[in-house]
């Protein structure tokens, strides 16, 4: 619905430019991003109002709920940044959930049974080795599948469908279906929770750093265009975009800091640290959760990779016209293989987040994740025809899906109905996107 609203001005192409259109053009903001954010707002406010009217309490737009949504989105958000690139190269990866499951088991077994013997029970090397192993295993598995796809010419749909079964089976086989728990204490911080968040001041510090970096990026981009004498965005547009970004960051930081540790844990913390509790109890804000920061970092790194490196340029060129890329001298097979390796590595990171959050590795970890990851990418505007898709769009898509699901849980929708709604939303979102693209053309 939101997407349709956002492209309403686009239909009046021949009329003199409207204010909204001019704003979009001069700020160079992607109208589809506005559509996505609008959809997100609609979902958030909708669930909040519905809860308030029907159930008597509006529980959606609370720091607690938003905090949880962000944490729950992290794992799929990390993987969908890779899925965008896979789909952009005209491929698909149906095996990410199983790769997550398998690497999760490997990480669980090594840190519970093997690494303590090597490094000692309380060594920080345990979590570091576990994370490195997860990423390496993921990259190896993904790269191997990518090699079959690129060099042996087996369609990715088939290779990764097979991979889905193989790695899920392998996950069982690692520990004969046992659940591996509890995991290393430091490793568990990756999952978030009261200890796995960075606290009040660090969060505001990060916020300030983020705003400065954003402003610097805008200035640097402007400087570069100025040096070559290209047309520049008007100053007000630059300031507008800068303020918008800063406001979003401040709001986000505020949300994460507005959610406090549960009273019992805060009480315990006060007792163990000999702090006298003020009346009404000690309030300890969570601040940014580590998995959310990991998702942000992944998003930034992947955006950099996609936009600013040769590798990224080649990925998009292959998606646009594989033959042209090859004729231009791009080693298309190698790029496709590496994209799958990257996807696998990201599944390894998500395996760490998911297992750390559960504080255990189970055989079923990541089951059906491939569907959510692909859906997030597609809702975020990635075209299955290849060549088109953005990292931030896919991550927003992941947030939209998680918001829908959490919202339905909150207002007490049946889990069967939840699935149906998510499925319908996927189809409708892609339909609206198709209309949008036709209008733009």
């Amino acid at each position: 619905m939101s997407v349709a609203t956002s492209n309403a001005p686009a239909t009046a192409a021949s009329a003199p430019e409207s204010t909204a259109r001019r704003l979009l053009r001069q700020t160079e903001i992607d109208p589809r991003m506005i559509g996505m954010i609008f959809a997100l707002m609609l979902i958030w406010v909708g669930f909040d109002v519905y809860g308030g009217i029907v159930n008597g309490f509006a529980a959606f737009l609370t720091p607690r709920n938003l905090f949880n949504i962000f944490v729950q989105t992290a794992s799929v958000a990390v993987m969908t940044t890779g899925m965008v690139l896979v789909i952009v190269t005209r491929q698909i990866d149906l095996s990410v959930g199983s790769i997550l499951g398998f690497t999760g088991m490997v990480v669980g077994v090594t840190q519970v049974y093997w690494l303590p013997h090597i490094f000692g029970v309380d060594s920080p090397m345990i979590w570091i080795t576990a994370v490195v192993l997860a990423i390496a295993f993921g990259a190896l598995i993904g790269g191997f599948q990518g090699w079959i796809i690129a060099y042996l010419g087996v369609p990715s749909f088939i290779v990764t469908l097979g991979g889905q079964l193989v790695w899920r089976g392998a996950a069982w086989w690692v520990a004969r279906g046992e659940t591996i728990a509890p995991l290393d204490d430091r490793f568990s911080l990756i999952g978030g929770g009261s200890a796995g968040s960075i606290g009040f001041w660090a969060s505001w510090g990060l916020c300030v750093v983020g705003i400065i970096a954003f402003a610097a990026a805008i200035l640097a981009g402007r400087g570069r265009r100025q040096r070559f004498g290209f047309p520049l965005r008007p100053v007000w547009a630059e300031v507008f975009v800068g303020c918008l970004g800063a406001a979003a960051l401040i709001w986000l930081t505020w949300i994460f800091n507005a959610y406090n540790w549960p009273t019992m844990i805060a009480k315990h913390y006060a007792e163990t640290h000999h702090i006298t509790e003020p009346p009404g109890g000690l309030k300890i804000p969570y601040g940014y959760a580590i998995p959310v920061l990991m998702a942000f970092a992944t998003g930034l790194a992947m955006t950099f990779l996609a936009k600013r490196t040769r590798f990224g340029r080649y990925i998009y060129a292959i998606g646009g016209n594989p033959e042209a890329a090859a004729l231009a001298g791009v080693n298309t097979k190698r790029i496709v293989m590496l994209v799958f390796a990257l996807m696998g590595a990201l599944a390894g990171i998500s395996a760490c987040i998911d297992s750390a959050r559960l504080d255990s590795a189970t055989n079923a970890l990541g089951q059906f994740d491939e569907l959510y990851v692909i859906a997030a990418a597609v809702i975020g505007g990635t075209s299955l025809a290849g060549g088109v898709g953005s990292i931030y769009g896919a991550m927003l898509g992941a947030l939209v899906m998680q918001s829908l699901q959490s919202g339905m849980v909150l207002i007490g929708v049946d889990s069967a109905v939840q699935q149906m709604v998510v499925g319908l939303v996927l189809v409708v979102a892609v339909y609206l996107d198709t209309i949008y693209r036709q209008k733009v053309k």
């Binding site: 004498g229 950099f304 231009a328 001298g329």
Partner: protein, 264 residues
């Protein structure tokens, strides 16, 4: 073959000797030979499916030949992929243009040869600046540097493909129907460009269905039929009607040097 037609005092830039390639039993190119001298324009003619594109795609590294030899500056060379060909200064404007539709003109211009900043990242501003220069030379009205090339007109797309081929100091330029989508003004501009490049000593293979264009621009013509060379001739030694006879019937006139495909 070259004895009668080679310009004085130069050695050939490229020689393709007895090149053959088959696609699943169809001999797309059959023992074809070609050569090209510095500052020379060789027009390659033939009916649809004669094997012109396939032959030059072997030179540009897009296809691997089944048999035959390629010499650049007199020395046999291995051209196994497009990168090899570019290393020898062979640039190609493909009939299909071979553009990545979803990225902009500058990205296409530099595809595979991106300019990098000192941190190893893409220097889009520098690439756009160069693109503006080279496009200004070809198509001065072109302004749409930010749009993906899929949204450009056929002629604009062709200009981008031409810009890419001339931008990297080609020594050997292959133009497969370079003006098929261009308007009269742009076609004339490409004609001027060809003369200019020729004066700089660049050798050009020009594939075209327009016999008049070829007679205007080429020094020599080579006609292909069913994958074989019918014959080659200097343009002043044959008439357009005779060349039509070569293309349609495979009949080699007295002014031309017959090839394998000449009607006996």
């Amino acid at each position: 073959m070259d004895a009668t037609v080679s310009p004085p005092s130069a050695s050939p830039l490229v020689v393709m000797k007895d090149i053959s390639i088959a696609f699943g039993g169809i001999k797309a190119v059959d023992r074809a030979s070609l050569d090209l001298f510095p500052g020379e324009v060789v027009g390659l003619l033939g009916h649809n499916g004669a094997g012109k594109s396939t032959l030059i795609k072997i030179l540009s590294g897009a296809y691997k030949r089944d048999a035959g030899e390629i010499l650049v500056d007199g020395a046999p060379v291995a051209i196994d992929n497009p990168r090899d060909a570019k290393k020898f200064g062979i640039e190609t404007i493909y009939q299909t243009l071979a553009l990545a539709d979803n990225v902009d003109a500058a990205s296409n211009l530099y595809l595979g040869r991106e300019l990098l900043t000192r941190w190893g990242t893409l220097d889009d501003a520098a690439m756009e600046s160069q693109a503006r220069k080279v496009m200004g030379r070809l198509n001065p009205n072109f302004r749409r540097f930010k749009d993906p090339v899929s949204s450009l007109s056929g002629g604009q797309r062709q200009s981008v493909a031409i810009a890419r081929a001339i931008h990297f100091n080609a020594r050997i330029l292959i133009m497969d129907e370079p003006t098929a989508a261009l308007g009269p003004q742009e076609t004339a501009q490409v004609g001027e460009l060809i003369k200019q490049l020729k004066a700089e000593g660049i050798g050009i293979f020009l594939i075209s269905h327009d016999i008049h264009d070829v007679f205007d621009l080429a020094d020599r013509i080579v006609v292909m039929k069913n994958g074989q060379v019918v014959g080659s001739a200097r343009v002043q030694d044959v008439t357009k009607d005779e060349v039509l006879g070569m293309i349609i019937l495979g009949k080699c006139p007295p002014g031309a040097t017959p090839g394998l495909g000449a009607m006996q």
